[in-house]
């Protein structure tokens, strides 16, 4: 468990304060504490050839900009970009690549990203090469292919929570001239800052922890360099998969409590994971905060945390329907990262797009359940699971 002193590194202290005041002091005209929702498509020009800095909301909108500046600052990046969904954000990043180029991709990938690669990008000639990104050697071997121009890593992975050594992988990719992209949805900048470990781009489903209330669909990209910002800015404006002002404002509102939520979720998750480990009907628990988890030392080295996601295997598949219909505090629903705890059945929900043989090989079997731990009281969560197990 990351102790308070680990959490309060100088950077985190800066982050806590930054998040609490996210978007404040943006409206100098009125002094309004909360950034206004600029529900506007276009902006008037003071005179011919002059601009207020805002012309058309697809290009830039003041509400979205307040969110984008917060995202960039939180990850220590050059610029942030807000998109209509996490997949719209990932899609924009993949547009940086050209036909004939390959990307090394985490093998137990989020089903939606997998579908994007397989159904949309592979037919265009941009090929994913799947690798176990928790194995540095496997990634090194995959990067040897000269056609590889990018490395797309999810860490922790979904749903089995394998941890990648981002610092080592980013260094390898840089040697090969490949861009490193990290999907940091599970840990957020509070617990993992990939750009500081050498990655070039960070992507998020902001629907999850960043917005944090299961009430908005949003995505984000943060870039490390001005050159990448220029390219992403072009893609965001040209392809237009932007986030609207109301949703941008809600995401910004969510970010204000991100540090608190994540801290509580992580503490609750550790208690639930430890309890699951002791339960006779639980065969295996996947949680990077447990001693013995192979990724724990990497997270500790980077002064990060383990987050609020847990996967576990029950002893028999017949138990699953009763668990899913019997939970009272947990909500049986897809998605994750909200204030409320959710339970998901990966084999039929999030990972249905991955073929059965691959699922089996990865360990996503029909006895596996995934928990997204919320900020409820941990004893209520444990009691709920006790009742159905």
């Amino acid at each position: 468990m990351a102790k308070e002193e680990d959490f309060n590194t100088p950077t985190d202290r800066r982050l806590t304060t930054l998040l609490a005041q996210a978007g404040n002091r943006h409206d100098s005209a009125t002094g309004a504490i909360s950034v206004p929702i600029y529900q506007t498509a276009s902006f008037g020009h003071p005179a011919l050839g002059q601009s207020t800095g805002f012309d058309y909301s697809r290009t830039s909108n003041p509400t979205r900009l307040a969110l984008e500046e917060t995202l960039a600052a939180a990850d220590g990046g050059h610029r942030g970009f807000a998109f209509a969904s996490g997949l719209a954000a990932i899609d924009s990043v993949l547009r940086l690549f050209a036909p004939g180029e390959r990307l090394v991709v985490t093998e137990d990938l989020y089903g939606g990203t997998f579908r994007l690669f397989e159904k949309l990008y592979r037919p265009l000639g941009i090929e994913p090469v799947y690798a176990d990104t928790s194995d540095v050697g496997a990634v090194r071997a995959a990067l040897a292919d000269p056609r590889v121009r990018g490395l797309f890593v999810e860490s922790p992975t979904n749903p089995l929570l394998k941890i990648a050594d981002l610092r080592a992988l980013a260094a390898l990719a840089r040697e090969r001239g490949a861009l490193t992209i990290v999907d940091n949805t599970f840990l957020t900048p509070c617990l993992q800052r990939p750009l500081e470990q050498g990655a070039d781009l960070v992507v998020y489903s902001a629907t999850k922890y960043l917005a944090g209330h299961n009430d908005v669909v949003a995505g984000a990209v943060v870039t490390r360099t001005p050159e990448l910002s220029e390219r992403l800015g072009f893609l965001q404006n040209a392809a237009g998969g932007i986030l609207g002002p109301q949703d941008a404002w809600l995401t910004l509102r969510g970010l204000k409590t991100l540090a608190l939520r994540v801290e509580r979720q992580q503490a609750n998750a550790l208690s639930v994971a430890e309890w699951l480990c002791r339960h006779p009907h639980v065969r295996r628990v996947y949680f990077p905060g447990l001693p013995g988890h192979p990724g724990r030392d990497i997270l500790l080295r980077e002064k990060g945390g383990w987050g609020g996601m847990i996967a576990f295997e029950t002893d028999e598949a017949a138990r699953i329907p009763g668990i899913l219909s019997g939970v009272r505090v947990f909500l049986f629903a897809e998605s994750l990262g909200g204030v409320e705890s959710l339970i998901t059945y990966p084999a039929v929900q999030t990972h249905a797009d991955i073929d059965a043989a691959t699922r089996q090989r990865l360990g996503i079997n029909d006895r596996l359940l995934r928990l997204s731990i919320g900020i409820e009281h941990e004893q209520d969560l444990i009691r709920d699971l006790e009742g159905v197990l």
């Binding site: 806590t16 005041q21 504490i33 209330h213 409320e340 900020i375 409820e376 009281h377 004893q379």
Partner: protein
């Protein structure tokens, strides 16, 4: 169920039709009626709106009341509660209640024949001594604004019961997470939900909760009749704010305690008012009725010029009216909350020109002390 869990799962936190994990914003005025002779559960959104109802249900659950009601502002909630009385009735009211409540009592309600006597409610004998044969209710606020004096809620409720009075309290500074007046014998709790409940300085709202269903029905009739309801979008935002109430308040309260002790040690600070401090005169009473000192501190600098210079030099807290948000807010009672009060009256109550009020947000305590330290050094 633990309070922390109840904030997330009040029972109306899911849409019954689609299963959506967030209750929809029912931006609607009226509802189609399949049977013109027997109207459905919802007929007109002033009377009942499913989004507002989800918030009202949550407020009732949190306060441990029979009924919750949501209003367009904290003052709409307070004024609606005061409409429970009739012309000719008399109220005993805490002297240090919120200025807006003082204003409606001394102007609007006074004109309608509702009479109020203001007493220092920190001593229950003062309340007892002000009761007349016409007295029908008590209205107190604890901690009071801005000096955070403490009123004994149990003792006050006891007086109300003995004299058959309706006991009302404004629980804005504490929220039900830290203090539950209905459990201590009060009949009605009102809030400015703009503050800690909404919590993000981005919505104006009020709520009320009643201990008993019959009283709840009367207040509901006032809400429907006068119509100062909370709109669906704002209801939804307050509900969203409430989900993080526990984590926010715990962090803010912890930070406020650290800051209060830090301020006590500063030579530029003459006194610190915070009920979480052992030295606070109401500390023992407060800790017997609340789960902590809360997140608002007042402190006094040498004089008016020192306070003004300090407020001009701080960079991290916003200088503004209001409190309870995720961002720290510094207020100057002399020109803000208590500007309408004659100076002599204000000074006699201890609200000096050197007094500033700090609502502690979620920023890091180290950043806040660094900022306050730099600003204090210059005064």
């Amino acid at each position: 169920m633990n309070d922390r869990t109840r904030l997330i799962h009040s029972g109306r936190d899911r849409d019954p039709y689609t299963g959506a994990s967030s209750i929809p914003v029912y931006q609607v005025s009226t509802f189609d009626q399949p049977d013109p002779e027997h109207l459905g559960r919802y007929d007109y959104a002033r009377s009942d709106n499913p989004t507002r109802e989800a918030l009202e249900h949550t407020v009732a659950a949190l306060e441990g009341g029979a009924r919750g009601l949501a209003f367009a502002s904290g003052m709409a909630a307070t004024s609606s509660a005061l409409l429970l009385f009739q012309a000719g009735d008399h109220l005993v009211v805490g002297r240090d209640i919120y200025g807006g409540t003082y204003r409606v009592l001394t102007t609007l309600f006074k004109r309608w024949g509702l009479d109020a006597t203001f007493v220092d409610s920190t001593d229950p004998d003062n309340i007892r001594g002000a009761i007349t044969p016409q007295t029908r209710g008590l209205f107190v606020e604890t901690p009071a604004n801005p000096l955070l004096q403490i009123t004994d809620l149990r003792a006050t409720a006891e007086i109300a019961r003995a004299h058959n009075l309706l006991a009302i309290t404004d629980n804005t500074f504490m929220t039900p997470y830290l203090q539950r007046p209905l459990d201590l014998g009060f009949d009605v709790v009102v809030h400015s939900a703009t503050k800690f409940l909404g919590g993000h300085s981005d919505v104006i709202a009020g709520v009320a909760a009643t201990r008993e269903e019959a009283l709840g029905r009367r207040l509901k009739a006032i809400q429907n009749g006068f119509g100062a309801i909370l709109g669906p979008q704002d209801s939804w935002l307050v509900l969203r704010g409430i989900k993080t109430l526990a984590v926010r308040l715990e962090a803010q309260q912890r930070a406020a305690g650290e800051l209060a002790r830090w301020l006590q040690a500063r030579p530029e600070v003459r006194r610190v008012c915070y009920p979480g401090l052992d030295a606070h005169p109401g500390h023992a009473t407060h800790m017997a009725q609340a789960r902590g000192g809360g997140a608002v501190i007042s402190f006094e600098l040498a004089d008016g010029p020192a306070a003004v210079a300090f407020m001009k030099r701080v960079t991290l807290p916003l200088v503004a009216v209001s409190l309870g948000g995720v961002e720290s807010i510094l207020s100057y009672p002399a020109t803000m909350s208590h500007a309408a009060m004659p100076r002599e009256e204000r000074l006699s109550r201890g609200i000096t020109d050197g007094l500033v009020r700090l609502s502690v947000g979620l920023e890091s305590v180290d950043d806040l002390t660094a900022d306050l330290s730099a600003a204090l050094a210059g005064v």
